[in-house]
């Protein structure tokens, strides 16, 4: 059934596609040898082109149900782009005003898209990245108590969208799944999907891939004033990897070259961690079905320069940018 009453109801049910060429190096083809397969969950197939449609709509739905969000309300949210785009789409259809706090070192495309959907943007300083956006948004929220901040970093509905949607969809398509790999930002995807698997198939290994940015993003902050999203529960994760821009760019290009999938840069980081799990399974002589998340397509990142020139050039261009 691919007919929907409106764009909003068409969120989710994204394809899971096999990556035979990227999986090939892990399979010797010898008789009795373990089979290792890597699968991509194409979240760019959501209405606004990213996985964030899931949590954004769920957070709005829950806020409406709880009476927090009423017609004419203003929604405020710290975002590096994707969540903002998702909220802006829903807000347009539902009649809300939107104000987003966005680090100034995010890609130009994301700004333009948000403006197209009618959002207002407040820029937060580049140094400190998303941490600063969160801080500025909290400050604005205090000045405008009538505005509704959905707050994706601490809103249980964010993780719930994945516990009810992303997780069950993957298990239905791939009952033999052994590993799930996703990006770590708000931690919503990993928390929700892990909670689902811990109940439905507890032996699935849950792996987090976290982007490692240039020094500017970490800034000169005091180490005592760091930020860990309120949603994060380390018990729900089995391994966590930090992936720098070089590996992310290299992998996102491989995904395009070998499998024809044009993904955003953060997906390269996630694929890097997924390939690490494949290598580990091969070394251990075990079969594996590894599913990872393609968060969004590459369109919004063309201006970052990640897709042209040498990997060295691309790495240099990404220094100081929030590429995931």
């Amino acid at each position: 059934m691919v007919r929907y009453d409106s764009l909003i109801t068409s969120v989710g049910n994204t394809p899971l596609v096999g990556l035979p060429r990227l999986s090939a190096p892990f399979n010797t083809g010898a008789e009795g040898a373990p089979e290792i397969r890597i699968w991509a969950k194409l979240e760019d197939r959501n209405p606004t082109g990213s996985i964030k449609d899931r949590p954004a709509l769920k957070m709005i739905e829950v806020a409406e149900k709880e009476g927090l969000l009423r017609p004419g309300c203003t929604i405020l949210e710290p975002t590096s782009g994707n969540t903002g785009i998702s909220i802006a789409m829903a807000a347009k259809l539902k009649g809300y005003r939107t104000v987003f706090v966005m680090p100034e070192n995010t890609s130009e495309e994301r700004r333009q898209i948000l403006c197209m959907w009618g959002a207002e943007i407040v820029s937060s300083p580049a140094a400190g990245g998303s941490n600063e956006a969160v801080r500025v948004a909290k400050q604005i929220a205090a000045e405008h108590p009538d505005w509704v901040m959905l707050y994706q970093y601490g809103n249980a509905a964010n993780a719930l969208a994945h516990e009810e949607g992303t997780g069950p969809e993957i298990l239905a398509d791939l009952p033999s799944i052994t590993h799930f790999v996703a990006g770590l930002g708000t931690t919503g995807t990993l928390m929700g999907v892990s909670r689902f698997f811990r109940g439905a198939k507890p032996d699935v290994t849950i792996v987090a891939a976290e982007p490692r940015y240039g020094e500017l993003v970490y800034g000169l902050r005091n180490l005592d004033e760091g930020f860990v999203p309120e949603l994060y529960d380390a018990e729900l994760i089995d391994s966590r990897f930090s992936v720098g821009p070089r590996d992310a760019v290299r992998r996102v290009r491989e995904l395009l070259d070998l499998e024809g999938i044009f993904a955003g840069i953060s997906t390269g980081a996630i694929l890097h961690a997924a390939l690490g799990q494949a290598a580990k399974a091969m070394k251990a002589g075990e079969s594996a079905d590894i599913a990872f998340v393609v968060c969004d397509g590459g369109w919004k990142y063309l201006s970052t320069g990640a897709y042209e020139g040498t990997v060295d050039d691309a790495e240099e261009r990404l220094e100081g940018q929030l590429w995931a």
Partner: protein
């Protein structure tokens, strides 16, 4: 046994501005002690004792060969010659 340790900007006051220094030890705890011997004061910024023994500070993330040490034994995480340790402040990341 030489292990490279990447130091975040905020902690370079302890390393004379060096971005990377070397340390020794068979596990993270020993490597931090060896860092402290050469760069006094740095250990206290990385670990704390909240009553249940020494542990990593909440907003300090440490990675051995890109893997978060909290999932591989924390301060007991094993080290081998040629490993790389990266220390970073915890930040909000990802395509949020």
């Amino acid at each position: 046994m030489a292990i490279e340790v990447r130091i975040p900007t905020i902690l370079r006051t302890y390393t004379g501005g060096e971005k990377a220094v070397s340390a020794e030890g068979a596990n993270l705890s020993a490597a931090i002690d060896s860092l402290e011997a050469n760069h006094p004061g740095i250990k206290d910024r990385l670990v704390e004792d909240k009553g249940a023994g020494i542990e990593l500070r909440r907003f300090v993330n440490v990675y051995i060969n890109d893997e978060d040490v909290r999932f591989i034994g924390s301060l007991d995480a094993e080290l081998s010659d040629g490993d790389q340790i990266v220390i970073l402040p915890a930040v909000a990341g990802g395509a949020a």
